[in-house]
Amino acid sequence: MEKNDKTTGTVSGIIANLVVVDVDGPVGQNEICFITHGKERLMAEVIKVTGDQAYVQVFESTRGLRPGSKVDFEGHMLEVTLGPGMLSRNYDGLQNDLDKMEGVFLKRGDYTDPLNREQKWNFKPLLEKGAEVIAGDWLGEVEENQMPHRIMVPFKLEGTFTIKSIAKEGEYTVDDEIAVLEDKDGNSVSVNMVQKWPVKVPIKTHKEKPRPFKLLETGVRCIDTLNPITEGGTGFIPGPFGTGKTVLQHAISKQAEADIVIIAACGERANEVVEIFKEFPELDDPRTGRKLIERTTIIANTSNMPVAAREASVYTAMTLGEYYRAMGLKVLLMADSTSRWAQALREMSNRLEELPGPDAFPMDLSAIISNFYSRAGFVYLNNEQTGSITFIGTVSPAGGNLKEPVTENTRKAARCFYGLSQDRADSKRYPAIDPIDSYSKYLEYPELQESLEKNMGEHWLENVLKTKDILFSGKEADEQINILGDDGVPIDFHQRFWKAELIDFVVLQQDAFDKIDASTPLERQKYMLEKVLNIADTDFEFKNFEQVGEFFKRLINQLKQMNYSEFDSEKFKTYEKELEEMLGEFAVETKKEAQAV
């Protein structure tokens, strides 16, 4: 797509934000152009070409635009600018720095620089003159918010280069030259700390992309314990409105064990984004002791911002993630919500008069979604370091129906499914992740099983599967009780039901607003799961079904108090002791200890 002379064109047709341009030279698919409208320059992307006409989608409102307006093509696709200084920034979907924009209202055609060009960074070289390098190799590093930020050989360079010169340790701006590379024909390339990369093209400078094998701790029990996500894994959270998608996403982004958090607020409520803007700078980062915002980048393209930029926003977020991954960092990428992204695709496909697929979504929706999810993953870099992007997207299924195209197609692409259930939300059982329907495919990976055995003990997986069985059998018992009535079933059914309730209340439900309960470290999760399974393994003897409910309600209350107490504190131990005494009241015998190590 590189051209010497820039192609120009004139506007000949306008249908909402789809503009037809008569062009005088070559144009590329997805090429960026600017339409001149009075004093404003409106950014647009080519999405279709027929003969001498390019169809472009404008990233802004086209109000007042006239045929005959001049168009300049840029010769490249939509690119992001990568370099130090992107953390704790608030970007829009096209990576404009929202804080740099003037005024309360967004102005059309206002594009701002994502980086700070004046700020100086303390550059330390990592390689020496004469070293052979390829794209993505670390030339040196600067420190950003106490995080190493590697300055890499530009991803766009092809082939092997020799370092002709490299800057000494010192203070440099992002635009200062920090190295000169030479290809094998003796051509020199000057390198600074900034590079550009097209968002729709994955950055592939890593050596290998193995299957994910390491659990990513989120502190959310019903994820970590029951359906764990892995470093470099993919997951999605579908749920009707009001089921707590956003609270869950915020909880994960606050607690997960990641170096960098990127949040793409894609077509969602502006006030929710404001909550992140206002809260994250206040929140202490449990991992670094600093503020959470310092390792967070927010891409905000709220529902009232231009639709085409909404589509771009998820790609922008992913590309930033890939950039950090290439530096050997663990990235957590959250997108809320991918349904809005799919709707943006639908609106455009509709204007292009393409033949529609199910629910009027474009026919290739499935391919687009899979392709996007496949950009996440765990990688080995060329220098044997590792990096990862863990991606979790939310889906807002129309009418809460999980059979709609976006949910269905995401299900094919993502490996973890955290379905939020309306019933659970209605009965205030939060997080409302349905324990029966949800799954993590990673649990079947021998790689993960092996690492779980190593880190969580040899019986961990067994215990997890057992927990699922108890939940399932509890659900069956519940259905029987509902059909036959409380006294129409053996007392044992009540026990089965209440043992599942015990797991539900103590392990699955978690208070995201409680300081202690909000995040549970793995060690504590393990301890509590074994405790609960022990109870589930115990045979109790009851005279009637009322006794079962009463007894278990007391157990649940006791265990919940433990959840609310500091782990292993005096308070915790007191509750635990009282619990043991309670158990003795009805226990026939303790069959066996849950298989702890």
């Binding site: 006239r66 059309r108 502006a270």
Partner: protein, 439 residues
């Protein structure tokens, strides 16, 4: 809108459909307004020199030699303090017999607020209705619809909310309002002596449906004038957004677009979000709060209109007729205000969150007891008491005719707890019980 001098008049239409006309014209901007045969129209498509105009009131009777003048601008509204107390149609022309107003011309449907410039909503809006203030508190800068069946008195409740909320300005956007409802609003506002702080943009059922599409933008442009230029707190009432969405689907259908769910256009979410997201708390102190009505068909909230709305708005309010007390109540189960956490217990008394949750929980117990009763099971003493509680709770707090301040609501709550339950059954924090419990 009158045509100005030097405007070119076109007289040759090349194409006429049910909703649109096409002609060859030059130098026309997208979204621009035009007058065709004396009717208002807007540019919806430009292909080369072919311009497609959507005629808001339909094309019946338009001849191919109809006069077409382009106005050179997108839909606009003149804004000034003269707006107060006036009634306008969807084009911003007075319909109350008064004079045209003077003011600054603003384009409607203007740009969005930069999200980093927004303030977090934080001011409680008291309505006196306990079903709202106690259980689902409204906050300035919030957007929330009533999900109601068409036979429910949503317009009355909304008028009450509007009059009691201490907003500086109330802007009514009426879409497909029946003439009776229009007169109802006019009368209620007049009787309350509040007319001077109310601006109304009304499209009644007598007007062409497509005109409705302009109403929310008109109302919100006026709202932005008062909230941004005058730093006022503005409450915008939009009724009924279902009829607005229906108009969208009519247009999309006539433009040969492929419908998505429930024959709605694929862009429904963006179209609705564009309107609702105008609700904002400005840093300068002004705010726009939107209370809307979305009528449901048969209570179905999975239909595309309420479904998309639910994903956009910050909660929803459900009305329900409680047959036990013969009154309409605000349903405590299905209603939700997502922003209430920002104010309850902070701007209201400390016991607010606790009382709210306990009352709803006990009300849920009553619902279980009722199911038991219906299935022919015996009720325990506790069940009986929950049922008594539920009735009193409905009557004294949930009913929409309640009008008390929040402290009184909380006191009533404690009174009901004390009357029907023991302290252990209510299960509240001990320090709250010690302080507020009423025997």
């Amino acid at each position: 809108m009158s045509s100005q001098a030097f405007q070119k008049v076109y007289t040759k239409l090349t194409n006429i459909t049910k909703a649109t006309v096409s002609l060859t014209a030059k130098d026309v901007g997208y979204d621009e307004m035009a007058v065709v045969h004396g009717r208002m129209a807007q540019v919806v498509k430009i292909v080369g020199e072919q311009v497609v105009l959507q005629i808001f009131s339909g094309t019946e009777g338009i001849p191919t030699n109809a006069e077409v003048t382009f106005l050179g601008n997108p839909p606009q509204l003149k804004v000034s303090d003269e707006l107060s107390g006036r009634f306008f149609n969807a084009y911003g022309h007075p319909i109350d017999g008064g004079p045209e107003i003077e003011g600054e011309i603003r384009e409607i449907g203007g740009p969005s607020v930069n999200p980093v410039r927004r303030e977090q909503p934080s001011h409680l809006i008291a309505t006196g209705i306990a079903g709202i203030d106690l259980n689902n508190s409204l906050v300035s800068g919030q957007k929330i619809p009533f999900f109601a069946d068409s036979d429910q008195p949503y317009n009355q409740v909304m008028a009450n909310v509007a009059l009691r909320a201490k907003a500086d300005k109330i802007i009514l956007g009426g879409m497909g309002l029946s003439n009776d409802d229009y007169l109802f609003f006019k009368q209620v506002f007049d009787n309350a002596g509040a007319l001077d702080r109310i601006v109304s943009f009304v499209n009644t059922t007598e007007d062409p449906p497509v005109e409705r599409l302009l109403v929310p933008d008109m109302a919100l442009t006026a709202a932005e004038y008062f909230a941004v230029d005058k730093n006022e707190s503005v409450l915008v009432l939009l009724t009924d957004m279902t009829l607005f969405a229906d108009a969208l689907s009519i247009v999309s259908n006539r433009m040969d677009q492929i419908p998505s769910k429930d024959s709605m256009p694929g862009s429904l979410y963006s179209d609705l979000a564009r309107i609702y997201e105008k609700a904002v708390q400005f840093p300068s102190g002004g705010s726009i709060t939107i209370v809307a009505v979305t009528t449901l068909s048969g209570g179905d909230i999975t239909h595309a209109i309420p479904d998309n709305t639910g994903y956009i708005t910050e909660g929803q309010l459900f009305l329900r007729r409680d047959t036990d007390i013969g009154k309409v109540i605000v349903d405590p189960f299905r209603s939700l205000s997502r922003l209430k956490q920002l104010v309850i217990g902070e701007q209201t008394r400390e016991d607010h969150p606790q009382v709210m949750n306990a009352a709803v929980r006990l009300y849920a117990d009553a619902a279980n007891a009722r199911t038991k009763l219906e299935n022919g099971f015996d009720l325990t003493d506790y069940d009986e008491r929950t049922l008594d509680f539920a009735k009193a709770y409905s009557e004294k707090l949930l009913a929409i005719d309640v009008n008390v301040d929040t402290d009184t609501m909380l006191d009533i709550g404690w009174e009901l707890f004390g009357k029907h339950f023991s302290k252990a059954e209510v299960g509240l924090k001990k320090e709250m019980v010690d302080k507020y419990w009423k025997e």
